[in-house]
């Protein structure tokens, strides 16, 4: 439990100035003491109140915890390595306290997610359609740490690259555009195949950066290398349908293909949300939030480039 490793979560400037004065030597604490300090509901509440506001006072504790003065003083005494009082009698988190607060904030959600997985709810058991669209079995397969998963991912991307090259389409994240007329076929083929790999790495970087900025969560980022190919599966299916329809019915209405693409894009976004929630161990809604931000960003890039993307 090194104080230097402690992260810097939300706190105001007064609080951070105050904390600089605390020397690292003061944080002499064993692992047992650390968990004892987190081992009571009132102590966790105190940590949360200070962590949320940057600092707090005894009257706030008394008001929000609704316990006796003696009890609160007892718990404050137990937490003496995690909190510290300034001259104005305000309580602040030490670096170790901030670390503990961060652990609590991250764990609360991940515990809930994992316990939900343990519960085999009726909805999950009976709704086959839900499992089918969220590719439940594929997720279970990819969740295992196998080296060949990364080759499967790159295989999926390679097939998408080849199909997009054959159909003269370019893929940027989940948006697809037709190539300019007049360019050489082999040139297009190479560029289209490369674009999908570039877009894959852009997706990995964007997702990781956004999840770090918004959730302050940079766990398991290597899993993205394996799993972020899953959201591309609907695009692969779309490209397959597109190729077949172009062969069978060359005069097919482009509007039909556009609407089809739109539905597959939404499916991709839902899968992206699922991947983020699985890798980062956060709620599905938070994953969806990131997926929507990524979708919006991609659309803005499309609009700025000002090409007729479909």
């Amino acid at each position: 439990m090194d104080g230097k490793k402690a992260k810097k979560p939300n706190s105001n400037s007064n609080s951070s100035k105050f904390k600089k004065k605390i020397s690292e030597d003061q944080l002499d604490i064993t692992e047992d003491q650390f968990y004892v300090a987190l081992g009571h509901e009132i102590r966790r509440k105190i940590l949360k109140i200070i962590g949320d506001n940057g600092f707090s006072s005894f009257s706030v504790f008394k008001k929000q915890i609704q316990s006796s003065t003696g009890t609160i003083y007892h718990h404050l005494d137990v937490m003496k390595e995690l909190i510290i009082q300034d001259k104005k009698k305000k309580y602040h988190l030490t670096h170790l306290g901030e670390h503990a607060f961060q652990i609590l904030a991250n764990n609360l959600e991940s515990i809930e997610i994992v316990s939900q997985k343990d519960e085999r709810s009726e909805f999950n058991q009976e709704n086959g359609l839900y499992d089918f669209f969220l590719l439940k079995k594929l997720f279970e397969y990819f969740a295992t740490e196998k080296k060949k998963n990364i080759f499967i991912s790159f295989g999926i991307l390679l097939i998408i690259g080849v199909l997009s090259g054959i159909n003269n389409l370019q893929i940027f994240l989940f948006f697809i555009r037709e190539n300019q007329v007049g360019e050489l076929f082999f040139y297009n083929f190479i560029i289209d195949s490369l674009t999908i790999f570039i877009s894959y790495f852009i997706l990995i970087c964007t997702t990781e950066i956004l999840s770090y900025i918004i959730f302050n969560n940079h766990n398991n980022w290597k899993k993205f290398l394996n799993m972020l190919s899953i959201p591309y599966l609907p695009i692969l299916i779309y490209l397959g349908i597109y190729s077949i329809l172009n062969l069978i019915i060359p005069t097919i209405d482009p509007l039909f293909l556009d609407i089809l693409l739109l539905l597959f894009q939404v499916w991709s976004m839902i899968l992206l949300a699922k991947v983020i929630s699985t890798v980062k161990i956060v709620k599905f809604e938070r994953g969806l939030l990131l997926a929507i931000l990524i979708d919006y960003g991609t659309f803005m890039i499309m609009l700025i480039v000002n090409n007729p993307f479909r």
Binding site: N10, L108, E109, L262, I270, L288, D295, L303, P308
Partner: protein, 151 residues
């Protein structure tokens, strides 16, 4: 530095308490977005026409996209009702519907830009739909942020 400050602000916004506040803001933004979408269907988009007048039944396949703001607006209002006010158990379906509408509006904007050109910015329609898109983004973000919070 700027990214860090922005990140901290976003992190704070997403993690502070006030689930009801977020839900309320989400509802307001979604409603404004839906209403703006519906109104944008009937205001001027080009020199003489609103988008609704460009929608023609005789050549349905080419003009179907011009009905998107109206349909999208109604869809947003219904979704907002079901998610926030009625609090249906099937709320995930309504989120998916919102995402579909979001992508429909993207598609509509890209098509309109490629068909009508940049002079769209001279008329009111494009501003209304862009404002509606922004409100929809914030509405969805607030609403999802509220749903993701621990109850």
């Amino acid at each position: 530095m700027i990214i860090r400050v922005l990140g901290d602000t976003l992190f704070l916004t997403m993690n502070t308490d006030g689930k009801k506040k977020k839900q309320f803001l989400g509802l307001i933004f979604l409603y404004i977005s839906g209403i703006l979408c519906i109104i944008s269907e009937f205001v001027l988009w080009t020199n003489e026409f609103s988008v609704f007048q460009l929608f023609r039944l005789d050549d349905l396949t080419n003009h179907l996209i011009y009905i998107i703001p109206l349909v999208g607006g109604i869809g947003i209002l219904i979704s907002a009702l079901n998610i926030v006010l009625f609090r249906r158990k099937t709320y995930k379906f309504w989120y998916v519907l919102l995402v579909i509408i979001l992508n429909l509006l993207f598609y509509f904007l890209l098509e309109v830009f490629s068909n009508q050109g940049a002079y769209l910015w001279k008329y009111l329609g494009i501003y209304m739909i862009v404002s509606a898109l922004l409100c929809l983004l914030f509405g969805i973000l607030f609403q999802i942020g509220a749903s993701a919070e621990n109850s």
